[in-house]
């Protein structure tokens, strides 16, 4: 009961990433998938601009993406530059995918001492 929440964070953006995976393979994405992708990205950008108001009704994926973009400059730039309509260039898709993956793989870099954590929190 006291354990940290079991998270499916690593999978939360899997569908979003599909468009990037298809673009990186020079395969077309269906209209419904592009709409989903654009919807998430547009909402994330809106939340970045105005978190107090734009988060109402946004999808959970958009909230996660906005948070990642706000806290990882490289990721923020890579995703902000992607077109929400039309074709995504293969190289841009590969860059965005790789920054998303490296963000996911980043680990805690903390000492274990509770005192040290208390001192910084």
């Amino acid at each position: 009961m006291l354990a940290a929440v079991a998270s499916n964070d690593d999978r939360a953006l899997e569908t979003f990433k599909l468009v990037l995976i298809l673009s990186a393979q020079d395969q077309p994405a269906s209209e419904s998938l592009r709409e989903y992708f654009s919807g998430v990205l547009d909402q994330a950008k809106a939340i970045l601009e105005d978190p107090q108001n734009a988060a109402v009704g946004a999808t959970s994926e958009a909230v996660i993406l906005a948070m990642l973009m706000a806290n990882d400059e490289e990721l923020g730039t890579a995703l902000a530059d992607l077109p929400t309509e039309g074709r995504i260039e293969r190289s841009a898709a590969i860059t965005a995918l790789s920054t998303l993956e490296s963000n996911r793989d980043a680990k805690y870099q903390f000492a274990n001492s509770g005192e040290e954590i208390r001192s910084v929190i």
Partner: protein
């Protein structure tokens, strides 16, 4: 192995499942609809790129144990009934709840797979008919199946579920980012992650307090009385103090941040949803307590917990004779609590039938 071979294996598996019995009939519908989607992809194999099919297959494997959990029907039914009432305050979609009983001491409520979010986004030639249920899996110690009094940690876990479903903590990071730069030797990501983990616990504690008062935090004080902050959890004292401030209506910056975040997300504010039923007279006579409202339904968890521990000390209920052990008292109180909740559920169903 190609995803298409797996898809055919899964098609057979779901075809068998569509003939199985389920504890909740909504699962039969879930399986039938999923089977239709599988058959669609099998028939339209050439249309869908391999990454789409691979993602679909991965999700089908992941929902398979979720479905099995409902066939067993081993969830703590009465507790699940109450949790669903609380969930209705926060989630509008229909919820499919399955269970996983554990031998060890583990409670959780976690989101099931996003299969039916994936289908409309990716299977463009399939008519999903707007179907998008929310999937919830409850994990609990098997020994507590008929012990609702001990299932209050599930309210804390429900808090995590609601948080993750709406990404409340992530929204809070956007609304009130951690102070930057991080302390020396700490990466920005680690700093943000630490705040996320701590805020998640504060939210779940407060959520639980809305439905079961201080029951969870009192247990925390018993289990981990002087534990300081770790990477994943705030200090026990900070958690207990925050809940006490909230319940007493005292200003607390952590509570204020969460309430502001809920407003920013368009969600209801955290508010106390329970009242304490006075069940001593009925329980002393070994009678079920007649729950009069949803607020009492939530409150019976804390009230029965309090009654149980008072009786292990005072032993003043007439049904406790000299030979009754603590285990006998515990079994009886849990039994009375479970039956009180069941009576409320039956009455509610009866009223719903007679008014329709």
């Amino acid at each position: 192995m190609t995803p298409n071979i797996n898809l055919r294996i899964l098609a057979k598996r779901f075809a068998q499942l569509s003939n199985a019995d389920f504890f909740d009939p909504a699962f039969k519908d879930f399986v039938a609809r999923t089977l239709r989607a599988i058959e669609h992809v099998v028939n339209e194999e050439a249309h869908y790129p391999e990454p789409i099919v691979r993602g679909f297959v991965a999700r089908l494997w992941r929902v398979s144990p979720f479905i099995s959990g409902n066939r067993r029907g081993d969830a703590p039914h009465e507790t699940q009934f109450v949790l669903k009432k609380a969930l209705n305050h926060w989630v509008k979609q229909p919820a499919l709840i399955s269970s996983a009983a554990h031998e060890d001491f583990e409670f959780y409520l976690k989101p099931g797979d996003d299969l039916w979010k994936y289908i409309p986004a990716t299977l463009d030639k399939f008519d999903h008919e707007g179907y998008n249920p929310i999937l919830v899996q409850i994990g609990f110690p098997e020994a507590y199946r008929h012990r609702p009094t001990f299932c209050t940690p599930l309210f804390h876990e429900l808090g995590h579920f609601v948080d993750v479903t709406h990404r409340i903590t992530e929204t809070s990071i956007m609304v009130a980012p951690p102070q930057m730069p991080p302390p020396a030797g700490v990466t920005s990501k680690a700093w943000v992650d630490l705040h996320i983990d701590h805020r998640r616990e504060f939210f779940a504690d407060l959520f639980s307090a809305c439905y079961s008062g201080e029951t969870s935090t009192k247990q925390l004080e018993v289990i981990a009385p002087s534990v300081g902050p770790t990477k994943s959890h705030p200090a026990t004292k900070d958690r207990v103090d925050t809940v006490r401030d909230f319940l007493a209506g005292r200003p607390n910056p952590r509570v204020e941040l969460i309430q502001a975040t809920l407003t920013a997300r368009g969600l209801p504010s955290l508010a106390v949803q329970y009242t304490d039923p006075d069940l001593k007279a009925q329980f002393d006579d070994a009678l079920t307590y007649r729950i009069e409202s949803e607020a009492e339904l939530f409150g019976i968890f804390g009230a029965s917990w309090k009654y149980l521990f008072e009786q292990t000390v005072t032993r003043d209920a007439p049904w406790i004779d000299g030979t009754a052990t603590e285990a006998d008292i515990e079994t009886t109180v849990n039994d009375l609590t479970e039956k009180s909740i069941r009576d409320f559920e039956i009455m509610e169903r009866w009223k719903s039938v007679t008014t329709d």
